[in-house]
C-alpha cells in the first residue's frame, strides 16, 4: 500500500461556543481519492479549510509525507502542493472568468499579465468540462450557479497540486457537467500523482470515484471504509441512524 501523503492527528477547532471539530484523525494515501461525508454542519468544510491553511487548528497536528507541518497560510499550503476548491467558491465577482480561473496563479511575463494565454487556456478547460459560458471575458457576477462552480473547480483541478481538496465540487453542476468532472477526477487518479479528498452529499457520485469513504460525525471521523465494502444504501442508513439518535437527544434536552 502506498505511503500516506497526509496525516491528520487529533485536530480540534472551535468557533466561540461552537465546537466544529473535536478530535479528527484522518490519513490520505498517495494517489488515493478519499470521500468525506457527513451531515450539514458536521465540520467537513472546517476540516478542509484547516488542510488548506485557511484556518489554524486549535490543537492537533498535520503531517505531509510523514513530516509534521504547520500551515501558516493558504499561500504556504499551496507552496507545499495543496490546493482547494472552497464550498463558497472564492470567486471575485468583479473579475472576468479567466482572471478568476487563474487567480493568484496568473501567467505573467514580468511585470505584465499574459492575458491572451490565460484566456485561451480558460476557454479550453471549460470546454473539457463540458461547461459553456457566454465568453471567458465576462464578469463572473453574470454567470449561472453551475458556470460559477465550474470556474472554481477548474481553477484547482488544472493546477499541478499534489493534494487536491474538493468541497462539494458538484453541488451546482448539471448531470452532464457533473459526469464530466468526475471523469476528470478519475483521469487524475489514474495518472497517480495526485491525492484527492472530495466532499459530496451524493453518495452515488462518491462511490463512483472514491477509493475510500470517511464519515465525519460529532467532530470526529466515526467510520472509515473502502469503497468495495460499502454501498449507497449503507452510507444512507449510517447517516439516518445518526439522525434518529440526534432526534432522540434533542427531545431529551428540549426546553433548555
Amino acid at each position: 500500500m502506498a505511503a500516506d501523503v497526509l496525516t491528520v492527528s487529533h485536530v480540534a477547532k472551535r468557533f466561540g461556543a461552537v465546537t466544529a471539530l473535536r478530535d479528527v484523525n484522518l490519513r490520505l494515501a498517495a494517489g488515493e481519492v478519499l470521500g468525506l461525508i457527513g451531515d450539514n454542519g458536521a465540520g467537513k468544510s472546517t476540516l478542509i479549510k484547516i488542510l488548506s491553511g485557511f484556518h489554524q487548528p486549535d490543537s492537533g497536528t498535520l503531517s505531509l509525507d510523514g513530516v509534521e507541518v504547520s500551515l501558516r497560510s493558504v499561500d504556504h499550503a499551496r507552496s507545499l502542493g495543496i490546493d482547494c476548491v472552497y464550498q463558497d467558491l472564492a470567486l471575485v465577482n468583479e473579475l472576468s472568468v479567466y482572471h478568476n480561473m487563474f487567480l493568484n496563479r496568473e501567467l505573467v511575463r514580468w511585470p505584465l499579465l499574459r492575458n491572451r494565454s490565460m484566456r485561451t487556456l480558460a476557454a479550453q478547460h471549460l470546454a473539457d468540462m463540458g461547461v459553456s459560458v457566454p465568453s471567458v471575458d465576462v464578469e463572473v457576477a453574470k454567470l449561472s450557479g453551475g458556470q460559477r462552480q465550474a470556474i472554481a473547480v477548474a481553477r484547482s483541478v488544472y493546477s499541478s497540486a499534489r493534494i487536491l481538496l474538493l468541497d462539494e465540487p458538484l453541488a451546482a453542476m448539471g448531470a452532464k457537467e457533473g459526469a464530466l468532472i468526475l471523469d476528470l477526477v478519475r483521469r487524475l487518479r489514474d495518472r497517480g500523482d495526485v491525492s484527492i479528498i472530495i466532499i459530496a452529499h451524493n453518495y452515488a457520485q462518491i462511490l463512483e470515484v472514491c477509493d475510500r469513504v470517511n464519515l465525519l460525525q460529532h467532530g470526529e471521523i466515526s467510520y472509515d471504509v473502502p469503497r468495495s465494502r460499502t454501498s449507497v444504501q449503507e452510507l444512507t442508513d449510517l447517516v439516518v441512524a445518526e439522525y434518529r439518535q440526534a432526534k432522540h437527544r434533542q427531545s431529551d434536552t428540549s426546553g433548555g
Binding site: 472564492a90 487567480l103 505573467v108
Partner: protein, 323 residues
C-alpha cells in the same frame, strides 16, 4: 469610414467613455460662452487645477479598489514639502535626496496607516482620521504654521518639479499611465481588485490581502507627498494651510466621479483623471465666466449633479448598445 467606426466602437467599449464625453461637452460649453477657454494660458490653468488632484486620486483609486480609504493623504500633501524644506535648509541634505526622503517618509505614514488598519484592525476611515490630525499637528508644530519659500538650493530643479507651466500635468499623466498599467495589467492590480471585491475569497485563494492593502496605503500616501511637493514648487511657497481635507475630498470625489466604487472591487485610474478634469474644468470655467463665490457653489453643485446624471445615462446607453 469603417476604420473610423471601429475606433468609435472601441472607444465606446471603454468604461471611461461616458465621463470623457461629459468633460468634452463641458469644455465646448465654456469655449462657446467665454471664447477663451482654449487659449494656452487657460489650458495651463486648467491643467494646474487638475494635476495635483489627479495624482492623489490615482493613489486613492488603488486604495478604494482594495476596499480602504485614506483621509490623511491631504495632510501628507501639506507635510511633505516641509519635510523637504527641513532636510535641505536645516539638515543640509542635497535637494534630490531631500525630496526622496520626503517621499519615503510619506510612504512610511502610509505603512503606519496600513499596519493599524490591517494588523490592528481599526477601520481605515478612523485610522486615517486619527492620522490626519496627527500629521496636521506635526506640520503645525514643526513649521510654526508659517509658510516658507522653496529652498533656494532647489531653484535649478524647480521648473522640472512643477514650476514650469506644463510640468505638473506631465508628472500627473506619467503617474496616471503607470498606475493604469499597474491596475489593469499586473498581478498587483488584479489582486487589488480581488481583495476589494471579495476579501474572504481572495484570502481563500491565497492572496496576501494584508500586503496588498498596506502596499496601496503606501502608494497613496507617497503620491500625496509627491503632489504636495510639486504643488509647492508651482506656487513657489510651502503653505501650511494647503491641502488638508479639501484636496483629499476632491481626490476621492474625482475617483468616484470617474467610476470607482467606494465599496471596493472596481475602479479606473483614467476615470479618476477624467473625474479630476471634470471638476477642474468646472472650477476654471465658472471662474472665467466670472461667477461670484456664493453663486459659484450653487452653480458648481448643480453642474456636478447634471454632469453625473448625464454620465450615468450615457454609460447606460453605451452598455445597452454594446453587442
Amino acid at each position: 469610414m469603417i476604420a473610423l467606426r471601429r475606433i468609435g466602437d472601441e472607444f465606446l467599449k471603454r468604461r471611461e467613455a461616458s465621463i470623457l464625453l461629459v468633460a468634452i461637452a463641458l469644455m465646448a460649453y465654456f469655449q462657446a460662452t467665454t471664447g477663451i477657454f482654449f487659449t494656452e494660458s487657460n489650458i495651463v490653468n486648467v491643467s494646474q487645477y487638475v494635476a495635483a488632484t489627479a495624482i492623489i486620486a490615482a493613489g486613492q483609486v488603488l486604495l478604494l479598489v482594495s476596499g480602504e480609504i485614506d483621509l490623511s493623504v491631504g495632510n501628507v500633501y501639506t507635510l511633505a514639502p516641509f519635510l523637504m524644506h527641513y532636510a535641505v535648509d536645516f539638515w543640509g541634505v542635497p535637494v534630490i535626496p531631500s525630496i526622496l526622503l520626503a517621499l519615503v517618509l510619506s510612504a512610511l505614514i502610509g505603512l503606519v496607516n496600513g499596519f493599524i488598519t490591517v494588523v490592528l484592525r481599526v477601520p481605515s476611515f478612523v485610522t486615517t482620521l486619527g492620522m490626519l490630525f496627527l500629521i496636521s499637528g506635526i506640520t503645525l508644530i514643526t513649521s510654526n504654521a508659517y509658510p516658507v519659500p522653496i529652498p533656494t538650493a532647489a531653484d535649478a530643479f524647480a521648473p522640472w518639479l512643477g514650476a514650469a507651466p506644463w510640468a505638473e500635468i506631465i508628472w500627473a499623466l506619467l503617474i496616471i499611465a503607470v498606475l493604469h498599467a499597474v491596475l489593469t495589467s499586473t498581478r498587483w492590480g488584479l489582486h487589488t481588485i480581488a481583495v476589494g471585491g471579495n476579501l474572504l475569497g481572495a484570502s481563500e485563494a491565497g492572496i496576501r490581502v494584508g500586503r496588498i492593502k498596506i502596499g496601496n496605503f503606501m502608494i497613496c500616501s507617497a503620491l500625496g507627498g509627491f503632489a504636495g511637493i510639486i504643488e509647492a514648487f508651482r506656487i513657489d511657497s510651502i503653505d501650511p494651510t494647503a491641502g488638508g481635507t479639501g484636496i483629499m475630498f476632491a481626490a476621492v470625489a474625482s475617483a468616484v466621479i470617474g467610476g470607482t466604487a467606494l465599496a471596493g472591487g472596481s475602479g479606473t485610474i483614467i476615470g479618476a483623471l477624467l473625474g479630476a478634469v471634470v471638476l477642474g474644468v468646472l472650477r476654471d470655467g465658472f471662474n472665467l465666466i466670472g461667477v461670484d463665490a456664493y453663486t459659484f457653489d450653487l452653480i458648481i453643485g448643480a453642474a456636478i449633479l447634471l454632469a453625473m446624471i448625464s454620465n450615468v445615462h450615457l454609460a447606460r446607453l453605451r452598455r445597452a448598445g454594446r453587442t
